[in-house]
């Protein structure tokens, strides 16, 4: 029997492997479906990664390279071109050129990452012409495969990937006509708004969405319109753009088909497994970290979180103990979700990550245990696009922990 199988060799899987190794586990296997380690970082050739972890600004492939080196130095075993098709408690089954292999293992770390929300989830009317890409697919086609995806482009969604692709397409000679965002604010980082849109005079239309896609074989144009506060298009505000390409940057979804097969409880808000402070799911010996757990905005936080999962998986493997005595963490006013959702009563110090549900300025984050205020943190600005965290000292948690925004 193996000690630890990690599903996914991207940012989360690599960091979890290194930390499990450094916590005393030697028998580790990383299973990766792509032909190389590094995951989505390999196609994220822009810079801005690693400011928290390495104190310098790296590109995606460089950031992945640092962790791959750590994995290779420790001689941690990994399998490439291997697709996990089933996870059960203490069992991982994958398909590769060797055929179908089932590994029996003491612990499992889920690190499958996330995928993009597709066009089908948007209900935008029109035919299904060529030229509609999710932003990440376009990124892969350009940066890995070396293809040009289009000449005149409209981008729906102002998340960071959409913004990064607006600049990338512009540098490669395409004309980006508009970025439309249905919300009244951008989900992307300020830095990306300035350096990807403003630098190239690309207009950002807030509270706008795509209402029509024209073209039968290839996209010929799209219409965008302003939306009201309930996100319904307002007649008479339509703008037509002649374009051959529409990129969709409309959100990321944790990829949890395997977690569901394993029987893990998922949170309807994060789309990822429900976990406690050790990042253990509700299935014995199955841990989760990174974008499979909840979508992050910075890879540094993925690495940090995955290291916690690696450490806890190691201590689970070595000691086997699994306390069931937990308190719940409740997202209150203005807080959309928290990870973890549970804390063990004897957990010691714990970091809770969370997202707010709206933009707040000059607000206070209040953390309570029952009625008792543990912490009040003043924040000049809070936005849904920026993950927040709060550290609790412990050592004991006796009542439910509540986190809310006070305005």
């Amino acid at each position: 029997m193996r000690e630890l199988v990690i599903i996914g060799g991207g940012a989360a899987g690599l960091s979890a492997a290194v930390s499990a190794y450094d916590s005393g586990i030697r028998d580790i296997l990383i299973v990766e479906r792509a032909p190389e380690l590094g995951g989505i970082l390999n196609q994220c050739i822009h810079n801005g990664f690693g400011l928290h972890t390495f104190n310098e600004e790296l590109t995606g492939p460089e950031y992945a390279g640092r962790f791959i080196t750590e994995v290779l130095e420790r001689k941690i075993e990994y399998r490439l071109n291997a697709m996990v098709i089933d996870v059960q408690p203490h069992l991982v089954t994958y398909v590769s050129s060797e055929g179908i292999v089932t590994e029996e293992t003491k612990a499992i770390i889920l690190a499958m990452g996330c995928r993009e929300r597709p066009r089908g989830a948007l209900n935008t009317p029109g035919y299904r012409p060529a030229g509609i890409f999710s932003a990440g697919t376009a990124q892969r086609l350009m940066n890995i495969e070396g293809y040009k995806v289009g000449s005149r482009v409209v981008i729906l969604g102002s998340g960071d990937i959409g913004l990064i692709m607006a600049r990338r397409l512009t540098l490669e000679g395409a004309k980006v006509l508009a970025v439309a965002e249905i919300m009244p604010y951008s989900g992307g980082l300020k830095r990306n708004i300035v350096q990807c849109l403003d630098d190239y005079s690309i207009p950002l239309y807030l509270s706008h969405t795509v209402t029509e896609i024209r073209g039968k074989r290839r996209v010929e144009g799209v219409t965008i319109a302003k939306v009201d506060e309930r996100r319904r298009p307002i007649p008479g505000t339509e703008m037509d753009f002649d374009c051959d390409t529409l990129l969709l940057s409309v959100g990321l979804l944790p990829e949890n088909e395997l977690s569901l097969k394993a029987g893990a409880a998922l949170s309807p808000v994060t789309g990822g497994p429900v976990v406690d402070d050790t990042l253990s799911t509700d299935i014995d010996g199955v841990f989760a970290a990174g974008n499979v757990l909840h979508v992050h905005d910075l890879v540094d936080y993925v690495s940090e979180e995955a290291a916690i999962a690696g450490r806890n998986a190691a201590s689970y493997i070595l000691s086997g103990s699994h306390s069931e005595d937990k308190v719940k963490v409740i997202p209150g006013n203005g807080v959309r979700y928290t990870v973890p959702q549970y804390i063990k009563r004897n957990a010691g110090s714990v970091t809770i990550r969370f997202r707010v549900s709206d933009v707040f300025s000059n607000a206070t984050i209040a953390v309570r245990e029952g009625e008792n205020v543990l912490k009040r943190i003043k924040k000049r600005v809070l936005a849904p696009g920026e993950m927040e965290k709060v550290a609790l000292p412990g050592p004991q948690y006796n009542e439910e922990i509540g986190i809310e925004v006070e305005v």
Binding site: I45, E62, N143, E145, G146, K190, E386
Partner: protein, 119 residues
């Protein structure tokens, strides 16, 4: 002359106004911390950016090699640098950190590999 900037130093994103006269800064307003003023001065007097892109490859399983400019180049040089990047073609082996072009487009910056290239 007035320049309007969005500060990128933190999520607050202050709108900063910089009053200019004959290429000199007269005043910086709208920032709420010293980082904002530093950002605004740099951005108005000598804006710089890191350009990241890919170059063509030959004899490799990888079709593109990712690259970046080190150190940052003047913002005005972005498109001249892209034109130079487009002319490059590399063959393996290349390792992260290898210089692909010295002093690219006369910027004084190097074009550096950010990925490994194998056969």
């Amino acid at each position: 002359m007035k320049r309007e900037l969005t500060c990128i130093s933190c999520p607050l994103g202050c709108q900063i106004s910089v009053e200019m006269e004959d290429g000199n800064i007269i005043s910086v307003t709208g920032n709420t911390c010293p980082r904002g003023e530093r950002y605004a001065r740099q951005e108005v007097l000598d804006p710089r950016r890191t350009v990241t892109s890919t170059v063509e490859t030959e004899d490799s399983i990888h079709r593109r090699l990712p690259v970046k400019t080190v150190p940052e180049i003047p913002k005005d040089s972005i498109f001249p640098v892209m034109n130079e990047i487009r002319k490059q073609c590399v063959t393996p082996p290349v390792s992260i950190g290898d210089v692909i072009v010295h002093d690219i487009a006369g910027t004084g910056s190097d074009l550096v590999a950010t990925g490994n290239l194998t056969e």
